[in-house]
């Protein structure tokens, strides 16, 4: 739900030089892209777009996108400073995509999987009807094809402009995941910077294995909301991946450059890879 706040922190600034959002170091933009948008000075993992995520995660040329026909709608006639319908058009023009989620089939380290990726650059990766529906269909596709699913999250949470329709996407995605798991499915959730609100409080937290990228902000309530509630400064590293690992909330932290390999090593343990009967 915090996307409005987070949105203002621009994605990687364009131009020749980029500034690391954590240590402030100036980095040659091209070099930053080569390093998978990880700061060479401090190792901070910058948020990447959905397309770029697929590019750096899936085996080259294997991603086949699905469910491209889903289009967001303004069903509540929601207006804040500008109508939601206009906001959608602006976001679509800015990103060249329909909404904040990509899904399809691909290979990761040679394992066939369904891959779904939330895109923070589209309205803070917030989950409305299209994101929820696309995730549910991706999960169902994985169930149908008897494939594991890997979901990358980067999201401020549920999309307020769709009111409780977005809230119910939490229920929808969990319903689909439960159906999938009950029928032998296997899911991996990768939490990246930032993942909060209704996304953390639904599908992203009930996958079989939970991986986080280093130093990613992951939580339910946004830090500012918590700070306003308790009226105290938050502890150092609060709601970061390392904090979550320490508190037993995630299974492992994986560097971006090792993500594909790590996913492959985990996928090798699934019945799908071991060619064993699909457990049920």
């Amino acid at each position: 739900m915090a996307w409005g706040r987070l949105r203002r922190k621009r994605d990687m600034p364009g131009g020749l030089w980029s500034k690391c959002k954590d240590c402030g170091a100036l980095i040659y933009t091209k070099e930053l892209a080569e390093k998978l948008h990880v700061c060479p000075k401090c190792g901070f993992h910058h948020t990447v777009s959905g397309r770029r995520r697929i590019e750096i995660t899936a085996d080259p040329g294997t991603f086949e996108e699905e469910f491209t026909d889903l289009q967001p709608r303004d069903r509540l006639d929601f207006v804040d400073t500008i109508p939601y319908a206009e906001k959608l058009v602006l976001a679509q023009e800015k990103t060249g995509q329909a909404d904040a989620c990509f899904a399809g089939t691909c290979r990761i380290a040679d394992h066939p999987v369904v891959l779904a990726v939330l895109d923070f650059s589209f309205m803070g990766g917030s989950m409305g009807e299209v994101v929820g529906e696309k995730l549910a269909r991706a999960i169902e596709l994985a169930e149908e094809k008897k494939l594991p699913i890997v979901i990358f999250s980067a999201s401020g949470g549920a999309r307020m402009h769709e009111g409780a329709i977005s809230l119910m996407q939490m229920a929808k995605t969990c319903a689909a995941l439960q159906h999938y798991r009950h029928n032998g499915g296997f899911s991996i959730s990768v939490l990246t910077n930032p993942t909060t609100g209704g996304v953390t409080a639904s599908f992203a937290s009930v996958c079989d294995v939970m991986i986080a990228e280093p130093k990613a902000l992951i939580g339910f309530a946004g830090p500012r909301v918590i700070k306003n509630t308790i009226r105290q400064d938050l502890p150092e590293g609060f709601q970061r991946s390392e904090f979550l690992l320490d508190k037993g909330q995630v299974d492992l932290i994986t560097l971006r450059e090792q993500m594909t390999e790590t996913l492959g090593r985990i996928l090798a343990y699934t019945p799908h890879a071991r060619k064993q009967p699909y457990a049920s």
Partner: protein, 360 residues
């Protein structure tokens, strides 16, 4: 409404938009008091004001804005889970604790009997006085609350008891401890697991349905809202402070979010709206609670008769297709066709019975 039930006396918290009602009521009470003190026959005047009070209450309540309804949902005299517990249920055995960390007072779990039907009651606890409210964080649960609820649902499953959930929370608690112990995960796990709880789950939003904090115990075979409750992805204040950058714009946010029971039902997000007595549940708490009990009684009988696999399939389908325009259109078309067939009898349940949700 019970006829000739005396109008509630002051000590009653008056909402700003209720002031005209309050003025007439005060006048009525003055006349009633005067009538007992003097020999004058004031029955005509009293009758006039009684009538006027009823009419005005009906008029004001027929025209509430979404923000008014949010205020009614938060009214300090509105019946809380603890009131429902005392008034409607018998043979109560409260079960505490999540079995891992603590006992969250913001969610109550209780073996309970409603009109002879044994069940598990789960509800958000808000508290009446300040001390009480602080002890349950004004109804905002920690992860322990959600884990306690899930643990007791598994117990209900083993005992074959249906589950009734009463929703009344401004939202899950945003705090350091809650985050450390996995607030998001606790809510997610509940939503996820409730699809496989093999007993009927019946949900009524009795006051505030604050986002994930509500949804964490609100996956039900039947989900209803009391007429003046709200259910939303975020509180109006939270929404206003993010999108309008000022919590003061809460009235606009309340309108924009479509959070009223009527809107939620129109959007296909809840199954049913339970009408409150005229003037709101805080004016006639017993009557309001009895209406909830009537509906619960009917659903208990209805859903306990459904074979469990069918029940789970319908629960899954309902949330899988929730607010799906195409699917809802099919449901509406189907309901309309059925209505045509039954022309004379209108059965409101037929339109949204979960087992009739068609496949996507």
């Amino acid at each position: 409404m019970v006829k000739n039930e005396p109008a509630p006396r002051p000590s009653h918290h008056v909402l700003p938009f209720e002031q005209p009602i309050e003025d007439v009521r005060r006048r009525l009470h003055e006349l009633e008091d005067l009538a007992t003190q003097t020999a004058h026959d004031l029955s005509e005047e009293i009758e006039f004001y009684r009538d006027r009070l009823q009419r005005l209450t009906r008029e004001v309540y027929a025209d509430l804005t979404p923000w008014h309804r949010v205020q009614v949902a938060r009214h300090p005299q509105r019946p809380l889970t603890s009131d429902y517990m005392r008034h409607l249920f018998t043979d109560l055995v409260e079960l505490h604790g999540d079995g891992y960390f603590g006992d969250d007072k913001a969610i109550l779990t209780c073996l309970a009997t409603l009109r002879g039907r044994r069940l598990l009651l789960i509800g958000h606890r808000k508290g009446r006085d300040t001390k009480d409210r602080l002890s349950c964080h004004f109804g905002s649960a920690h992860p322990e609350g959600y884990r306690k609820a899930l643990r007791k649902m598994h117990l209900a499953e083993r005992l074959g008891l249906p589950v009734v959930c009463l929703i009344n929370t401004p939202g899950a608690y945003p705090g350091v401890g809650a985050e450390e112990r996995g607030q998001a995960r606790a809510i997610a796990e509940n939503i996820f697991q409730m699809f496989r709880i093999r007993v009927p789950i019946l949900v009524v939003v009795i006051g505030e349905g604050g986002s994930g904090g509500a949804l964490g115990i609100a996956i039900g075979d039947r989900v209803a809202m009391l007429e003046n409750s709200w259910y939303s992805v975020i509180s109006p204040e939270g929404c206003a402070s993010i999108l309008w950058r000022s919590a003061e714009r809460k009235e606009e946010a309340a309108t924009a979010l479509k959070l009223t029971a009527g809107d939620m039902h129109r959007l296909g997000l809840v199954d049913e709206v339970i009408a409150e007595p005229v003037g709101g549940a805080h004016r006639h708490p017993h009557e309001a609670m009895e209406r909830v009990a009537d509906r619960l009684e009917e659903w208990l009988d209805q859903f306990c008769a459904v074979p469990v696999d069918q029940l789970l399939e319908a629960r899954y389908r309902k949330f899988r297709d929730i607010a799906n325009l195409e699917a809802s259109a099919q449901v509406a078309a189907q309901a309309a066709a059925e209505l045509d067939q039954e022309a004379s009898v209108h059965d409101p349940d037929a339109e949204t019975a979960p087992e009739e949700h068609p496949a996507d």
